[in-house]
């Protein structure tokens, strides 16, 4: 018998907070491939996600993020290794596990001839506990669209709907696969707010995958950088960046050409980017901004170099990825 939840229940079990929401041990997934014999999609991944945190997988397409998630969600069987959600094994306790989680699939589709309301109602009927469709639609401002078909929604609306469709059973853990891919910046920000509120106001654990480093930096408490089926680093975004030898960029524009070699002599400068965007703009990659900046300004004054648009930017996860793998996230 399905019971309908009235209102939203705040999750605060002290037992839960110390528990790990997800535990993954030595997960391996190998696919047979006609061309290459076998493809190792996931090659020995181990990590755990704490209850109540927002955990992100950052990596380019094909890194194995989606496959890893699918195994944890019970949609796919691993070749070896183990995944557990709140102690429920993803293979043995599959049905019980599915009751406790919500999943938003990448480009997940819904029945084209059912209204939003009907879809939420249908999905809810598969679970023992469910949230009324009206409440879910209200959370994402789609109440007026409740009789609309999914194809009548804009990109941002459709993504919001698919996230809220993952919440029909008021799950403890929510999996989001590339939640903002293909959205314009405004829609992306709206979605970030939604995700943050799901985590903070409702205490749900959120596990997401993305290839946008701003998203990982903005949303996640911890980020696992994944590439070619293995986790290269796992930490908070700040700590990941601080581990970089080069953590800042000092950028400026000027009115004439400067020899990069000359800038290289300044203290702490690891690398010089010259003529960025075809104008007289330069970037100095440095380990510690406060070490280099004063020396740079002194040098500029002495050499009578005009400095405009001076900016000091911290490195991003993009650079972390680059330093770990030698490749860009965007490849």
């Amino acid at each position: 018998m399905a019971t309908v939840r009235q209102g939203v229940k705040l999750r605060s079990g002290s037992r839960r907070e110390s528990e790990n929401a997800v535990e993954v041990e030595d997960l391996v997934k190998v696919f047979p491939s006609r061309r290459r014999g076998t493809v190792v999609a996931v090659g020995g991944v181990s990590f755990s996600v704490r209850a109540g945190e927002v955990f992100g997988f950052l990596g380019p397409n094909g890194a194995g993020k989606t496959t890893t998630l699918e195994i944890i969600e019970g949609m796919r069987d691993p070749t070896s290794g183990r995944a557990q959600v709140f102690g429920l094994d993803s293979r043995r306790d599959r049905v019980k596990l599915k009751e406790r989680i919500g999943v938003q699939l990448q480009a997940g589709a819904y029945f084209d001839y059912l209204t939003l309301e009907e879809i939420l109602d249908l999905l809810g009927s598969f679970y023992r506990e469910r949230v009324p469709p009206a409440e879910l639609l209200e959370k994402v401002g789609l109440v007026e669209k409740r009789k609309a078909l999914v194809r009548e929604l804009s990109g941002g609306q459709a993504q919001r709907f698919s996230i809220v469709a993952a919440l029909v059973n008021d799950p403890d853990v929510v999996f989001l696969d590339e939640p903002t891919t293909g959205l314009d910046p405004q829609a992306r920000r709206n979605l970030w707010e939604l995700i943050t509120s799901i985590n903070r106001d409702e205490g749900k654990t959120v596990i997401l995958t993305t290839h946008y480093m701003e998203e990982a930096e903005h949303l996640c408490d911890r980020v696992a950088i994944i590439d070619r089926g293995t986790i290269r680093a796992l930490d908070t975004p700040t700590d990941l960046i601080h581990q970089l030898p080069v953590a800042y960029r000092i950028m400026f524009s000027t009115d004439g050409h400067i020899e990069p070699a000359e800038l290289q002599t300044l203290p702490g400068v690891a690398e010089v980017d010259a003529c960025i965007n075809g104008r007289f703009a330069y970037g100095l990659r440095v380990a510690r901004a406060m070490e280099t900046l004063p020396a740079f300004l002194t040098w500029a004054e002495q050499r009578d170099v005009r400095v405009e648009n001076l900016r000091v930017l911290p490195a991003t996860l993009e650079e972390v990825f680059l330093s770990l793998t030698g490749r860009s996230l965007r490849e």
Partner: protein
Amino acid sequence: MWKLVVVSLRLLYRNKEALLWALAFPMSFAVVFGLFDLNKPPEANVGVVTPASSPVAAQLLAGLREIEGFTVSEQPDLPRAQAELGDGTVDLVVAGPPAGQPEATGVVRVRYDGSDPEINRFALPAVERVVDGMNLSLAGVEAPPLLLEQEEVVGKTVTYYDFLLPGLVAMGVMHFSIVGTGVGVARYREQRVLRRLLVTPLQPVRFLTAYVIASLVLAAVQAALILGTGVLLFGAQVYGHVAWILLLSVVGNLVFLNLGFVVAGRAPSSTAAQGVGSCVSIPMMILSGVFFSTDTLPPLVRSGVEYLPLTPLIDALRKVAIDGLSITDTGRQLTLIGAWIVISFLLASLTFRFADGK
């Protein structure tokens, strides 16, 4: 489960395009064939050449004029009559004995176009009858010893349309089940709808069962509509109980639904599913005897098509609709259908997949 069935039905009838096609396809056959008045008696244009005005010639002309369906025209001479035969104005040329030939052993020449069997099947015997009658009277037999009395016993008249309609019911139901299911489910897989369902605790088998039940309901509706069109609009005669026809359609449909799942499972895309499905269903329509009896097939082929999944269904439907039997008399057909249900189910469970790569 009930909710799933209702939702499946809703999905089916909201897809107006697919629905239109499900119903319009067989119903258009019912209408088109109904429009052809296939019971009209045959007709022939007969050109008669009577060179000399003789009593024999006159008798010949009169006798031919009496035949129903004959439009008789007098031709001046044989060459011109044959010219008319050649260009099709005239279907048959009958030439009485030429002038000068003794009446006792006259020769009536009949020229006909061998390429139109319908006309020849009707016209030639009619001419023969006229000549036989003339022979009797020329031989002086005024009252022939034997008289042929034909009396039609009031019983069933079965027209070609009556024969066709049960076949159309089976065809309509089968075609939509194979192609409609094939395309529809393949589309769901393409749109990753099925994959979205895998994420929930719902067991995939329950979803498929609900889909099957909804499709069976649709099949009953289809059968009723096709039957209704034929009977109400074109006066087809159905001698057996309509309930048996609907029941048989639903049972037989199980086979085609399974085949539809096989198509959906194997076809790489929903567009391909359309082609593959049609390749299966259209030859079967013809070989299983929807349009004409399979008696004219070579014996080896004929015994083969007996076992096609559509054949026993059509045979059973015809037994009910035309022979007026009840469903208990269709035992042999039901056994064959039952065997096919098992085979098609096995095929479907082996080939069907919910999502690519699971």
